[in-house]
């Protein structure tokens, strides 16, 4: 879906959402624009040059590369990228990146590191799915994204293994605190 490059009234303006580690290796990636990133080889080559351009200079957070506007943000050993059409309003792409980072940050309880992210891979995939649908920006409000990719309170039970594995449930921690307060 790269209609946006040629048609300014198209909504397909996101070409990809990528998270790399400190060596520039892919942690997770979802590409939407098959014209620009049709093959894995093209994707990996792009990621390589993207990383070499962005890893040295951590203060900058936007770069133009091979006709793609790339916004990025890094933390500890992770680099977050939103790749968009050069015709898309950069502020819209910026809002998308902020939403991605903030939503992941909430889910990982501010522990935005590779190990934590890998442990919560299923939730991270759901977050990416809530933010972008086939290249259309779906949501830029991190709070809404977290709500839509999270568990509901009545689904949480302590026997349920998926809770601990999800690595994210405020309700669980609140419940635990409540339990402790009763035991004290």
């Amino acid at each position: 879906m790269a209609d946006f490059d040629t048609n300014p009234t198209s909504l397909y303006s996101i070409k990809g959402i990528v998270i790399l580690d400190q060596d520039g290796n892919r942690v997770v990636a979802k590409y939407y624009d098959r014209n620009t990133f049709g093959t894995v080889k093209e994707q990996k080559a792009f990621e390589k040059s993207l990383f070499s351009k962005t890893s040295r200079n951590t203060s900058a957070d936007i770069v133009l590369l091979d006709g793609v506007t790339c916004l990025y943000r890094s933390n500890v050993d992770l680099y977050f990228y939103v790749l968009g059409s050069t015709r898309e309003n950069e502020l819209f792409l910026d809002a998308t990146l902020t939403c991605l980072y903030d939503a992941v940050s909430v889910v990982l309880r501010k522990n935005v590191e590779k190990k934590a992210l890998v442990d919560a891979m299923d939730t991270v995939m759901l977050i990416i799915d809530e933010i972008c649908d086939e290249g259309i920006i779906m949501e830029t409000d991190a709070q809404a994204v977290v709500q839509r990719s999270a568990l509901k309170s009545d689904e949480v039970s302590f026997s349920d293994q998926s809770v601990s594995q999800l690595g994210f449930s405020f309700i669980e921690s609140a419940n635990k605190q409540f339990k402790w307060s009763l035991l004290k």
């Binding site: 300014p8 009234t9 909504l11 580690d21 060596d23 290796n25 892919r26 942690v27 997770v28 990636a29 979802k30 093959t39 894995v40 994707q43 200079n57 203060s59 900058a60 957070d61 936007i62 770069v63 133009l64 916004l71 309003n89 950069e90 502020l91 819209f92 792409l93 910026d94 809002a95 590779k114 190990k115 890998v118 891979m121 299923d122 939730t123 995939m125 759901l126 799915d129 809530e130 649908d133 086939e134 259309i136 920006i137 779906m138 949501e139 830029t140 409000d141 809404a144 839509r148 990719s149 568990l151 509901k152 689904e155 349920d160 293994q161 998926s162 594995q165 999800l166």
Partner: protein, 359 residues
């Protein structure tokens, strides 16, 4: 089991703690056979399903037979009531939609989830359902789609509208019948719903010039709440100005009024639109240049980058108009963002006198 655990630990170390880095397709597909077991082991199946989706997303080539077998395994997981697992099922359906046969067998399960009481399922189920549906089947879910478009839950409404935009490419005549519901959604309080529905409404009417003009007139008068929707309206308006032989001056007035919008995103969009219009007079583009100049002082790199990139384009056609920004551009020569610095220098080469470059 002991030896295999040893092996994965060793693998983890090699991949820097990322179990997903070197997944082997054969063993992932092997693991997915557990989907057929009863009772469903939620933890194990969620993890296997995550791996399966991961390898497909990372472009691992999967044969049709393998994919179909995995897909039928995934359908068995519908028996589980685990929310997280169900959400991963929808992702898997979308990822397998293009590589597997007979994906339409999940139509009724998805339709049930899309019309069910669980809001966390409904939006995602709509997206998955529209991904596997064809024009013939679309008619059977048409009623539910119309309802979903005007649903009060913004996730559901946005999902239905965005899916309709995807469907415009293959079943546009069906989607056109939903224009009333889409129009109703434009008055939503939710920013994204308003943006998505305005875009779909425009695409439904795109071939009818008169209707498009009416749409621009209507929405430029009663202010849209969503900055994203206003940006989109500017894009439609720009198109009207470029395409029409005798463009309506009120359309240009609307775009110009957006230069005074409270959202920075809208101000930049309007400025960008004005300087891109052919046959504008220097006095017409001056307010836009002033707005871009304001953006140059933003603390956000993305905004500075956007402004200087646009000024760079304007400088090709109207170097004199951009001269007023030379002082701001000179500050960018030492900007920490290399892209901004480079753009500023090339712009100055078009607009600046020798003195400014030497400084």
């Amino acid at each position: 089991a002991q030896s295999s655990r040893m092996k994965t630990n060793k693998k983890d170390e090699e991949s820097g703690g990322n179990v997903y880095a070197h997944l082997d397709k054969t063993s992932v597909l092997q693991e997915c056979r557990a989907f057929n077991e009863t009772p469903i082991n939620i933890k194990k199946c969620t993890h296997s399903l995550t791996k399966l989706i991961y390898i497909i997303q990372q472009g691992e080539p999967i044969g049709r037979t393998e994919a179909t077998e995995a897909f039928f395994g995934v359908t068995k997981l519908w028996q589980s009531k685990d929310v997280n697992l169900r959400r991963m099922i929808y992702l898997a359906v979308k990822e397998l939609a293009e590589v597997s046969d007979d994906v339409i067998i999940v139509t009724s399960s998805l339709t049930k989830d899309m019309t069910g009481r669980e809001d966390l399922y409904r939006a995602a189920a709509i997206r998955a359902l529209c991904k596997i549906t064809d024009t013939g089947m679309l008619q059977t879910i048409e009623r539910y789609m119309k309802q979903a478009i005007v649903d009060r839950n913004s996730a559901i409404s946005s999902s239905a509208i965005a899916s309709s935009i995807h469907l415009m490419r293959k079943s546009s005549e069906v989607v056109r019948r939903w224009a009333n519901e889409v129009q109703e959604a434009v008055s939503s309080d939710n920013h994204m719903v308003q943006y998505h529905s305005l875009a779909l409404l425009y695409q439904i009417r795109a071939n009818d010039r008169l209707a498009v003009n009416k749409l621009v007139q209507k929405f430029s008068k009663n202010a849209l709440r969503s900055p994203y929707a206003v940006c989109y309206l500017i894009r439609i308006a720009t198109r009207c100005l470029v395409d029409d032989d005798q463009p309506d001056s009120s359309v240009f007035t609307f775009i110009e009024s957006c230069l005074r919008h409270k959202s920075e995103m809208v101000v930049y969009e309007a400025a960008r639109a004005i300087v891109s219009l052919p046959q504008t007079t220097p006095s017409e583009i001056q307010p836009a240049i002033t707005a871009l100049q304001m953006c140059c002082t933003s603390p956000k790199a993305a905004v500075r980058f956007a402004a200087v990139r646009t000024l760079n384009k304007v400088a090709m056609a109207h170097p004199n108009a951009v001269m007023s920004c030379n002082v701001d551009l000179e500050k960018f020569i030492t900007d920490s963002n290399r892209s901004i610095a480079t753009l500023a220098i090339t712009t100055l080469l078009k607009t600046g006198a020798e003195s400014s470059v030497e400084r």
